[in-house]
Symmetry: C2
Subunit: 344 residues, 2 copies
DNA sequence: AGAATAAATGCAATCGATTACGAAGGGTTT
DNA sequence: AAACCCTTCGTAATCGATTGCATTTATTCT
């Protein structure tokens, strides 16, 4: 009691029985008599006894804690995923330790080390933009700790993953732009080392090819922030009239917002002059813009749920068998005013 | 090594020395010879030894983990706060366990229990809307565990807190509306049991009184979501012409957005017909709206930093002395188009 | 009654790291 | 040579909970 927290020993001393008996009484072990159980339980309640999870974790080599590493919580998408994870974790009796890499690999490495040290039972990770070396992640698996990637998965490492149909989503978005009559479609692409960027760009690319539309290198710009979206859109607008795109497919919503801002500033009308579509469908943003932004919805909450479910399934196996599941969730094209031309 | 994790015993066995010596060698204890230290450290590096924090926590009765309870991570404000906490936690060698109450007291109680069981070194809490009983929070203090409230603080419990000048912020916002010529100012208020709602409403109230403007009961509606903001604004618009407000001060940005949506739908111009201002200044929202929304900025990141700093200061005390600090941070009036009338 | 069985509880080791205390070995002092 | 010291390391207890095994006591059987 000195530290303010009641222990099993305190209960034992008070009742003049051994700690072992208290432990067994608390978990309703059949060896213990009813009267003893009653006494123990009532004293435990009286003193508001809370078992020390740290000791239990040590004893069982199981912490009931999951480590999460995300680039930044602040993004709607990642906090949705975290909510999804927490939702399942809560009902399954798990706690979560959340770390942010802030898009820096050094921080990601430090986070990995800290979580390993804390003996989390598993990792749910979305890698940072700057993660090009994967030793720290491989290290997790080498220690026999389950690892599930979500969204920004890492193909160099063979493990579970949950992602969305980035290629198909991008293909749908681009096709949609084509259907509403756009012929000169630009793409604001994400960090080139991320698979999601690659896939989205490929979906865009293939949709154009399939529709016999031109691929033009200066219509493909790397931009994945509001500021970069703004700058890139300015560049696009300043192209010679004939080369100016009539639509933009942005790798995510915030980049689309930056582009929209630039377009408006240039006096261009959305979608009449230039249509625009994003990716992710940030619920707290896309529908509230002027005009409301079309986007490809990613089920963030569900991604989180699936990720932790894969983890739970993995630890329920008698041993690591090296069989990994790669879940790919569907995206949904959300059409709003930013791609709704009058003629439709 | 069976579990995949190297322990101090593994190192000891390999080097034919005792675990105690390994432990001391790793922490550069003066009793250990240079040669032994070298051998231990090199083997530790070779086997990629990571100390088991669980064991260390048990030994030292200190987990180096902080428990955070927030209503919902998904809100920009709370994720900012969490980022601020994490920022300091990271440099100070702390990990964070984040729990969401989802605005439900039952969940908040369960979170408290789980974090106590995990023996977190301290709590940083922002209470839920439905928290009217505070036993679970008092219980934290009874166990001698430091507790810091932030934003949604709880006056029934005497402990550290970090909040912002809600009253002053609301007063400034309302005064600003008056300055731009509004005379019939409505208020969309938050949950009545939260202090922040009360203070914001009081700031609004006092600003009106001070300027000899009428307080009208049907101009004060409880609403703190997009949907409720929408509905409430509709009600305001449908008031008899003479009673229709010419400005709205909303308890937060998302409510303001709902109201804006309603106003636009009714064909009213912002700010010409009705000016509107929010609270919090959600960076990912307010500046991107049409028109950009004026708001009272709350420094979320800084709130987080201050909260954890109060915790760190508390645990650096030789013992709990019952002296508590109540930090109140400044807000800043951010004026954008939604309250910028032409005549100005 | 003596033996066998069942019921209830305690002992001691364990998880991994730490640390007070003690001990061995080499060297120095008087 | 006896007494002492310093360096270096090991022993054992500890943190709190758990659990295989042993022990005690009560009960039943033959």
């Amino acid at each position: 009691m000195k530290s303010g927290q009641v222990t099993i020993k305190d209960l034992a001393r008070e009742l003049n029985i051994s700690a072992a008996t208290v432990s067994r009484a608390l978990k309703d072990h059949p060896d213990i008599s009813k009267s003893t159980k009653k006494a123990v339980i009532s004293l435990a309640e009286k003193l508001n006894y809370q078992p020390n999870s740290v000791a239990q974790s040590l004893r069982h080599s199981k912490t009931n804690t999951i480590g999460i590493i995300v680039p930044e919580i602040i993004h709607y998408f990642f906090s949705s995923v975290i909510s999804g994870i927490e939702d399942v974790a809560y009902t399954e009796g798990y706690n979560v330790m959340i770390c942010q890499s802030n898009e820096k690999i050094e921080r990601e490495i430090a986070n990995t080390k800290a979580l390993l040290s804390n003996r989390v039972d598993g990792f749910l990770v979305s890698i940072s933009k700057s993660t090009q070396n994967f030793d720290h992640l491989q290290n997790i698996l080498n220690r026999n700790v389950p690892l599930v990637f979500f969204d920004r998965i890492c193909t160099n490492i063979n493990t579970h993953s949950v992602s969305v149909e980035d290629y198909e989503g991008a293909y749908k978005a681009t096709s949609h732009l084509i259907e509403i009559g756009c012929k000169k479609i630009a793409h604001l692409s994400g960090p080139q080392n991320l698979l999601i960027s690659y896939n989205r760009q490929k979906g865009y690319h293939d949709a154009l090819i399939q529709n016999n539309l031109p691929i033009q290198d200066d219509w493909i710009l790397v931009a994945d922030s509001l500021e970069q979206g703004f700058k890139s859109a300015k560049k696009l607008v300043n192209l010679p009239k004939a080369e100016r795109p009539d639509a933009i497919f942005a790798v995510n919503d915030i980049t689309a917002v930056g582009a929209m801002k630039a377009l408006k500033e240039c006096g261009l009308k959305i979608p009449e002059d230039i249509a625009i579509i994003g990716f992710s469908d940030d619920q707290k943003l896309a529908p509230l813009l002027e005009p409301p932004l079309s986007s490809v919805a990613q089920p963030g909450f569900e991604i989180g749920q699936e990720a932790i479910k894969l983890f739970l399934k993995e630890i329920s196996k008698p041993e690591r068998d090296g069989v990994f599941e790669k879940k790919v969730l569907k995206t949904e094209l959300i059409i709003r005013e930013s791609t709704r031309k009058n003629k439709d």
